[in-house]
Symmetry: C2
Subunit: 499 residues, 2 copies
Amino acid sequence: MMAYPLTLDRLLERARRWFPTTGIVARQPDGSVRRSDYAAWHQRATALAGGLLQAGLRPGDRVATLLWNQSEHVDAYFGVPLAGGVVHPLNVRLHPAQLAAIVRHAGDRFALVDASLLDLWREIGVPVERVIVCPDAYEALLATSSPTPLPTLEENAAAAMAYTSGTTGEPKGVVYTHRALVLHALATALPDAMNLRAADCVLPLVPMFHANAWGIPYTAAMIGCKLVLPGAAFDAESALQLLAQEQVTFSAGVPVIWDRILDALEQHPGRWRLHPELRVNLGGAPAPEALFHRFDRQGIRVHMGWGMTEMSPVGAINPNFGPGAQGGHGARLRQGRLLPLIEGRAGDSGELEVRGPWVADQYWGGAAPEAWTADGWLRTGDIVAFDAQGLMTIVDRAHDLIRSGGEWISSVALENALLGLPEIQEAAVIAVPDPKWQERPLALIVLRPGAAADPAAWRRSLEQSFAPWQCPDRFLPVAVLPRTPTGKIDKRALRAQFA
Amino acid sequence: MMAYPLTLDRLLERARRWFPTTGIVARQPDGSVRRSDYAAWHQRATALAGGLLQAGLRPGDRVATLLWNQSEHVDAYFGVPLAGGVVHPLNVRLHPAQLAAIVRHAGDRFALVDASLLDLWREIGVPVERVIVCPDAYEALLATSSPTPLPTLEENAAAAMAYTSGTTGEPKGVVYTHRALVLHALATALPDAMNLRAADCVLPLVPMFHANAWGIPYTAAMIGCKLVLPGAAFDAESALQLLAQEQVTFSAGVPVIWDRILDALEQHPGRWRLHPELRVNLGGAPAPEALFHRFDRQGIRVHMGWGMTEMSPVGAINPNFGPGAQGGHGARLRQGRLLPLIEGRAGDSGELEVRGPWVADQYWGGAAPEAWTADGWLRTGDIVAFDAQGLMTIVDRAHDLIRSGGEWISSVALENALLGLPEIQEAAVIAVPDPKWQERPLALIVLRPGAAADPAAWRRSLEQSFAPWQCPDRFLPVAVLPRTPTGKIDKRALRAQFA
């Protein structure tokens, strides 16, 4: 068989060759909508690659991006790897001091920065060899880029990079190879995964500066489907406007984004005419059953996925769309089935360990080697259980279990149950020290506007599904829950506060 | 990213781990139906691998199979590669002398032979080190196989092998690597290709001794869907019985098989209750529009594919199922869109040249190097055209065009049109020498039973779609058309006969 490398240029070339007029629609940071297509995208990505090479880019050089989900970011997702470089999106939600540490640690040589983020870039304050500001300097670079022979790419060469903190520790860099991204695109497009066709219209409601945008720009190019980008606006109204206007058939995002979109749909019935076949892939956090019922009422098919920045990022997807799930009640709440070529096993105390061709084998620079087992599997930090259908449920984070009297209590299960109660908007269950039982669960509750706290009723409700000793001793209403820069509830801060 | 090889053992392990009770149903050569599942299959394939290793199999050794689409053949598809060997199915439709040349050329060391094919094996007469006859000696081998550590597999190692003759030349061997077969499984399962889910039930009506059974046994294991095998019986009644009994949702085969199945369905309305979602992937030859309409009337969704033994074998699939095809009338008649990672370009006189990770770069032993261009693309022998949707149409075989007065005439287009006429069962259009025009088309016609020849009407019908000079000058009824051992009409023989 031919020695044909699995490299990103092949995906972009396929889009140019067979889908030249298929659209790419990007809302730009200034609010304007830029309409392009794969032929033009190929031309721009190639011009960016040429411009970077003429600027002196060497194989493996990191090119930082400080951009929204905008046109230039799509260019860079392919253009930097086509030049042999490593595209390194910076998470604009991090603190400038954290970003400075990341830029320094990654050794970024160039940077593409949107004009709207120049102030943040200056706050970061780490010098790089060349900063190309969008749109003006960026367009000038593309316009003056002369046709340049692009390098022959190796499939195991680095193509992209992302930093992750999880809920603990310092940011750590994950480097994606061409091979990993191509295989990830193939596996996530499968019918039992994202189920993507050329006839689809895809809107990733996940930032391109976070977790590789779930690989969706690469998958879209491979499949040849229309791609819509929300720019800097992730609020419900802006998202719904694009979803309706472009007749999106597939979207993806974390549950909290969709919770807000469902709020807007419920408050304004009939205002947005969504595509009747719209389906949504949720990931990044477990979702309560109540959220699924709200999707059902809107006629939007929804299913779960699971991943990590260390997994390019998708590791599992639940093939069950909509209310008629195989495997009975609750099957579609599960995180999903591990994708082909991703292997999982249970490690200590049920922690999932994984391996596969799009799973990181180390962090950039060798940080935190304890994230891998001695035989090379990645420790995910998720405690999981599998049902008879092979569907995985996250029972808890490895460091987020509550150990009470020698028994484990799942904070996630309690939180999901609490989120199903009408008065409760957000809930966090944490371990607090207890002289008798070592640890006990404490529930911190954000009430919905106008709702009143009723701990006795909450406890009665929980006791329908949990043993009395598993239920929190106290329910403490709070105005707001602290969150990490990536939007997760900051359990470490809460544990410290209530210790 | 982890150095995780793309090897077949990972696909079988996935089936065992997540789909242990999913069924494999095989009609055995004696007519009995054997019901098994992925857990049992994994156990048997592993036992076969152990038995072969204990018999002395070395890495890369070829193991011939002379088997139908039966249970043991599925074992061998995985068991031989798991032991580090190369599974080499022999095409029982070839002449014993041709098979003898193939066994000798491949250097097969062991052979798995079904008892029903022992006479053929004796006629082949080439000694191999060990012949294991199914079922008795085969079951004894599995029963006495002790747990053996299986070798660590390399993704570029050979896993399977098939011989092809095309319509010209001596049989030539194609060797499939683990990597090629895994990537082929991923790409063919995509929504715009075979669109396979774990919930599907798949019946390949393609022989496992021909063109790698379109990769379907490997794809089924990767996806985790139910697999049904027809044994030695490819007749319409036997196929329909299995299709109905097992409620098959996906089947595949060459048009002539499905022509017969549609005959049976039309002759016995209501006799078989097929799954309402049954869909069929046609390949191996172009299909006339009339065949699509017959599928439509039965409520069976149908689409085209295209491939070659040299391409593992699928290169393109038409994503349009059913009558409501995108791209307008005729779009679904086309062979399809090249799969992701398969690149195509037009070579001399429009011949399609391809490359990709599951395309052969040579024949076993270096035969017929002229099948590749100087820069390493495979010459397919197919003259193709692409429409605006990227859908490919085979215009003709490179050696099968008719050159009349300096213009090319497509024999395939004429044949397809003739096959749409009610009186015509089979048609072959060949070039015959002509003193004035160099070559002229001659149509050889096999009439349907009871039908009468009406060349004047046929010509009038053709002239609705073809220029007068493109139509055959003569229509010659014949009782039968000669066929090559792989079932294609033998145009070379016809040209020689009518020269």
